[in-house]
Every structure is written in C-alpha cells, then in structure tokens.
Amino acid sequence: MRRALTLALLILASVPLLYAVSLLPPVGSEDNPTYTYVVPHYLEEGPEETGCENIVTAVILNYRGFDTGGEVTVIFTALMAVFGVLLIPRPAEKVRQPESAVPVSPVTLFIVRTLAPFIVVFSVYQIINGHSTPGGGFQGGTIIGALLIAASLVMGSERTQRLLPEGVRRWLQPAAVLMFAVVGVTGMLLFGEYLSYPIEGEYLFLRVPFLTLVEIGIGVGGAAIVASIFWAMEGSDG
C-alpha cells in the first residue's frame, strides 16, 4: 500500500520534471548559455590570470576559491559533528571492539605494504601538481586517508594511530581551514581582497607557491579528517 502510494506520487512528480528537462537547452551544444556566458573567460584568460594550466583548479582555487574554503569547512564540520555525536563520556569506559574478527590474510597484508609507498608518491604528486594536472589537494588527501584506513584494517587502529599521535592529529585536522585563512588573509593584505592572488606585478612569483600551499593544506587536512572519522566510527578515539 505504502509502496504503491509512494510510487504513484513519484510518477506524478516525474511528469513536470521530465517536461521541464525537455525544455532545457540541448545537452552538449556549444551554444548553450552555460558555455557561452562565463566559461569562455575562464578558458581563455584562465591560465594567464591564475597561473593554473588546469582550469578546474583555476576555478575552484582562484575564481571561486571561497566555495572551496566553504567546502573544507563543511568536512571539518562533519568531523566535529562525528566527534560530538560519537565520543563516549569517559575514555576508561569505552567499549573495546576486538581488533578484527577474521585474522588478516597475509596476501592483503603484503599487498597493502607493497603498494603503500607508491600510493603515497602518487598522492603527493597529485597534491603538489594540482594546478597543472588532474587531481589536487582533496583527491590526494583522500587517497592518503584511505591508505591510513587500509593500514588500520591490516595492522589495527592502535598501531596506525601511533603514526599520527593525538597531539599532532589535533593540529592536522583543521589544516585546510587554517591554511585557507592564512593564504586568504595574506592575499587580502597584499592584493586587496580575501583570497586574492597576484595577477601581475612584483609578487607574481608568489602565485604558484600560494596555490601549492593551499593544496597541501587541503590534502593534509583531508587525509587527517577522513582517517579520524573512520577511527571515531570504528570505536577507537578519533
């Protein structure tokens, strides 16, 4: 009954949606307003104005950098939220789950150990070269975070957490938010507005280092947050 009713409701809702969709500008055409209005400026002036060969990076870190500042705040909010919801009153009372119910197979262990250095190199490359190649801070950071998760699965969370002691972790988690603030305020003091980067003039050489700094901040913060969320959910302290 409930299913049928919901289904009917959704089919009813789909009619105006589909009709509206059919009236939108045709997908893929180069004459769409989405492609003729703001984007030509990004594509033509982007590399010149921002120093990024990857225009997506130019958009997310320079033209619309404030959005990305918001994005890293959202994920930091998620971390605070997970801690606020999950951390149990007294550490002494915490329920220790068994490290893992099934013993880790030596094959998995071997693969994780062998691949780890390559994964790290790959993510660091992504983070540092975000402005000229696909990928960037967040992608690289998430991959490092995923590696930490994989390590926790094979070696146990306690041992992995020793790589990133609690005192250090506390500083790394807000790294992205703080790095944005530092670069943003520097830009504000030197070039006029929050998150401004130099377009020309004597400070031009600072542009790429600044972008790289932001990328590193996002990467480090992203990795720490992703891993900490996992640890908190898995039952050990974030």
Binding site: G135, Q139, I143, A146, F230, M233, E234
Partner: protein, 80 residues
C-alpha cells in the same frame, strides 16, 4: 557511437541503483553502491572531467563505501 556507450552506462547506473535498493544483505548493497560510484566515475571521465572522476573514485567508491562497511559491521547486516 559514444552516445550509445553513454546509454549503456546510464542503463548500468539505473540497474545498480535498483539493485542497491532491492538487496537485503546490507554488506552486498554497500559493495554494489561502490560499483555504482565506479560507473559514475567512468561517466565523468568520458565527459572530460578527470578531476571529478578522481574525486568520485576516491570519495564515492572508496571512503564512503568504507564508512558504510564500518556502519554495517557495527550494526546489523540483514535488512528486514
């Protein structure tokens, strides 16, 4: 030609989405959800968006799935 391939991918996406809903075993559903994300990642790579594809692969297929698995392990595996 690439249009036909797009259609196949969309078909697969919808099939995966339905499978996620229908599967009673939550562990299996999580894995199917991961597949869903990977197909989506392929779609985006084909549309000239390697950045989004990388993110989707790392976040959607990777971290989100792991978090789902942790939650399933901490709660119950069967859906009623």
């Amino acid at each position: 030609m690439s249009r036909a391939f797009d259609l196949v991918l969309y078909g697969l996406l919808i099939a995966c989405a339905l499978a996620v809903i229908r599967t009673k075993d939550l562990l299996a559903a999580s894995i199917i959800f991961s597949t869903y994300s990977l197909i989506l990642c392929l779609v985006w790579q084909l549309r000239g968006s390697p950045d989004v594809a990388l993110t989707e692969a790392a976040v959607g297929a990777g971290v989100t799935t792991v978090l789902f698995l942790v939650a399933v392990a901490r709660t119950s595996r069967r859906e009623r």
